[in-house]
């Protein structure tokens, strides 16, 4: 499968009469984009704001972040959710660098559940979203719109905005062309057959909270009874997978730029042969967990024939254990594993860091301690949560998990919990 990403570099974003790229400046017709969002009867009002890197600005109530991408040549965008069902991962896709769509959830009441993005200051150093020009989308529910409908509607509005913005680069020559070309795992040229075969096991949801009917995660399917399944890495990068509505420390943006997939692609053909991606769901009952672990290990070891595998999870303790069981089964089949975990302790003690101790699971990378608290200074402007400005515009104390992008369980973030 061969995917060509045509990147346009963007260094400034501003409102304009027509949505277009002028050099590396993106001008956005905000009224047009607003109307696009308000066309959904589930929403009664959409507001768009712009937040730029370096501004003293705090975005609150962040629900998800999306990267602007649009398929060329008649391809379907975010198939199964926005576009019609079509296989993602091949053809040409335009992409804007340094721009993100930040979707806020206007139904959140308490500051405790806010996810924040600070565009400047100590919080900004911790997240990639302080370096992107953010188009902040806030929408309010129409009459009679229930909670899960509202979330589906704002997510869709975010995806529409992501495509709309990327289309500004449709007719331009790309600043940078990135080709992601990976043959099926059975087709390894003789010269590369000595390379270790590496798979990625990607846990995309946890069933501690069952998905809603309109909460599409894999090609629009709410994956309620999903057993471990195989996909090509390009499908993940090209809109087949998105974050569910409750994923903690996860954004759709990070999936679209999946750091593990990119890291494996970067080494592919040189130090390893990337053989594929196994998608799993963290199960809520022990028998289902055992079945899922067994099948995932079977796909990794016997179908993909991997020598090694990297694992990530989405969620807290139960997904952590679920991931470990799958990895332990892989180790039992002779596959070497590395897992990305978060520091699970809530009192900062190193003995609380890890919940499990399975044989062979000795290679662990951590994405930091979600519960650790930090203080952010006052800012000049609040977006997405203006009504909460009295509490969040001043100095704010938040845990790391409350900072969007500071901890990404897919491994996109650069925080690590060190033991001292």
């Amino acid at each position: 499968m061969r995917l060509t990403l045509q990147w346009s570099q963007v260094n400034a974003v501003r409102a304009g009469a027509v949505t277009r790229l002028v050099g590396q400046d993106l001008e956005v017709n905000l009224e047009e984009l607003q109307a696009l969002g308000e066309a959904d009867p589930r929403l009664q009002r959409v507001r768009l704001d712009l937040a730029h890197p370096g501004e003293s600005c705090r975005i609150g109530r962040v629900f998800d972040v999306m990267a602007p991408r649009a398929k060329l040549d008649g391809g379907e965008d975010f198939p199964g959710v926005l576009g019609a069902l079509a296989r993602a991962g091949s053809g040409r896709t335009v992409a804007l660098a340094n721009v993100a769509v930040v979707v806020t959830d206007q139904q959140l009441q308490s500051t405790g559940t806010l996810a924040l993005i600070d565009m400047a200051g100590p919080g900004a150093a911790l997240t990639e979203f302080a370096r992107t020009h953010n188009v902040v989308l806030s929408a309010w529910p129409g009459a009679g719109t229930g909670r899960s409908e509202y979330l589906a509607a704002i997510r869709l509005a975010g995806l529409k905005a992501a495509v709309y913005l990327a289309r500004a680069a449709d007719d331009r020559p790309a600043d940078r062309v990135e080709v992601l070309d990976l043959p099926a795992p059975t087709r390894v040229p003789p010269a590369a057959q000595h390379l270790p075969r590496v798979a990625y096991v990607f846990q995309i949801h946890s069933h501690q909270r069952p998905t809603g009917v309109d909460e599409g995660i894999l090609y629009g399917d709410p994956i309620r009874r999903m057993l471990p399944t195989l996909v090509h890495p390009n499908e993940v990068l090209d809109g087949a997978v998105m974050r569910g509505f409750m994923g903690r420390n996860a954004t759709t943006y990070a999936i679209q730029n999946h750091p593990i997939i990119r890291a494996l692609y970067a080494q592919h053909g040189q130090t390893l042969w990337f053989v594929g991606v196994v998608l799993t769901v963290a199960q809520a009952t022990e028998p289902e967990r055992v079945r899922s672990a067994s099948m995932a290990a079977g796909l990794v070891a016997e179908v993909l024939g991997a020598d090694g595998a990297v694992f990530t999870k989405i969620g807290g303790g139960a997904p952590h254990v679920d991931m470990a069981q799958a990895a332990a089964q892989c180790e039992a089949l002779g596959v070497k594993t590395t897992l990305i975990v978060e520091d699970m302790s809530t009192d900062g003690s190193s003995e609380g860091m890890l919940l499990f101790n399975f044989p062979g699971l000795d290679a662990l990378v951590n994405v930091g301690s979600s519960q650790e608290v930090l203080t952010l200074p006052a800012v000049a402007r609040v977006l997405g949560a203006d009504d909460l400005a009295p509490t969040i515009q001043g100095e704010v104390s938040t845990s790391y998990t409350g900072l969007c992008g500071a901890i990404e369980q897919t491994g996109a973030s650069r925080l690590v919990a060190l033991i001292q």
């Binding site: 590395t338 009192d347 003690s349 190193s350 951590n366 301690s369 919990a417």
Partner: protein, 349 residues
């Protein structure tokens, strides 16, 4: 840079009062650096002055515990120090414990930075490493100056509020505390590199230590269930409506004791659930899906179980610290045991 006021703490031997025969001697303070504190002054150079040396016999502290520490803290306070250097205690156990206790007390009560040094087998290490920076020393007191240089180096950083590096780099016992730090490469890159190293058979340094839990001796089995009292306990977050005990939804430090005497059922309208780690819809609809009072009562009435204990204990088991979990478990167990309970069914989510 300002010259720091440093106070040293020494035991009877290193303070030159005498050997084991002086271990019972009470606290005193002498101006300037005496005995082993002179090595501290040498290590400080111009950065600080040892304004006083506080001394005490190891047995005096060991026998009087908190009162002795309080006396020593008063002596330290009077000197208005910017830094306390206690020891090094090497392998002397009573001395090491006294150093750790004094450092911890001075930090908490005076807000003054403190540092000590001891050998890894010194019992003071395990007792105080979490609270106090303790430099790792060898066992050879002849290497006093070298060891003291390292302790003082660490102490100066603490006093100047400079960032402290990793345990390996600075030579102190890992405090077992985690702290978030930004690194060069993201977790995905580190994971890929780690996997490649593992595949190549190269050594791998995990970013998380593997936990060890001490085995728990299994209590003897219940001999005669028909005469036994069985209690129901849960960490699934069941609370009476209104959560009168204020059980926390996350990182609980409290548990509740809820009467079920005379009840054959739990009325869902009288209960709620505060747990935030799972979807509590189903256990709110029917609390028996969490605490099986209905079935337990039937088994009691049928004689299969001697007695269903009248109290249900409940807390929330999400993000609960190990320390609080263990404490709550011990407290609940003690109450159950005192009430003559023979066995417990703990429902965990």
């Amino acid at each position: 840079m300002q010259t720091l006021r440093v106070v040293c703490y020494l035991n009877q031997f290193f303070g030159q009062l005498g050997g084991e025969e002086k271990a019972g001697v009470g606290p005193d303070v002498v101006p300037g650096a005496v005995g082993a504190a002179r090595a501290v002054q040498q290590a400080l150079g111009d950065a600080g002055t040892v304004v006083a040396t506080v001394r005490c016999g190891d047995n005096y502290v060991a026998e009087r515990d908190a009162t002795a520490i309080a006396e020593l803290v008063s002596l330290v306070t009077a000197q208005r120090p910017d830094l306390l250097v206690a020891g090094p205690a090497f392998q002397a156990g009573r001395y090491g414990v006294a150093c750790g206790a004094l450092c911890a007390a001075v930090q908490t009560q005076l807000g003054v930075p403190a540092v000590s040094g001891m050998h890894e087998e010194n019992p003071g290490v395990d007792l105080y490493r979490r609270q106090v920076y303790i430099a790792q020393t060898g066992g050879d007191t002849a290497r006093m100056l070298d060891e003291v240089r390292r302790i003082v180096g660490l102490g100066l950083k603490l006093a100047r509020k400079e960032p402290i590096g990793s345990p390996a780099a600075e030579g102190y016992f890992a405090r077992g505390l985690t702290h978030n730090v930004l690194t060069e490469s993201n977790a995905a890159q580190r994971a890929t590199a780690m996997l490649l190293a593992k595949l190549a058979g190269a050594p791998v340094t995990s970013e998380v230590p593997l936990p060890t839990f001490a085995p728990v001796p299994a209590p003897a089995r219940v001999q005669d269930m028909r005469r036994a009292t069985i209690a129901l306990v849960t960490d699934g977050g069941l609370v009476p409506r209104g959560n009168p005990d204020g059980i926390e939804a996350l990182a609980a430090t409290r548990y509740g004791a809820y009467e079920i005497a005379g009840l054959t059922q739990l009325d869902p309208t009288q209960y709620d659930n505060v747990h935030r780690g799972y979807d509590t819809t189903y256990v709110k609809q029917d609390p028996h899906r969490l605490v099986p009072v209905d079935v337990a009562r039937e088994l009691e009435q049928a004689g299969a179980v001697g007695k269903l204990h009248e109290v249900v204990y409940s807390t929330t088991g999400v993000a609960t610290t190990l320390a609080h979990s263990q404490r709550m478990g011990r407290e609940i167990a003690a109450k159950l045991k005192a009430a003559g309970v023979n066995g417990v069914i703990l429902t965990s989510t």
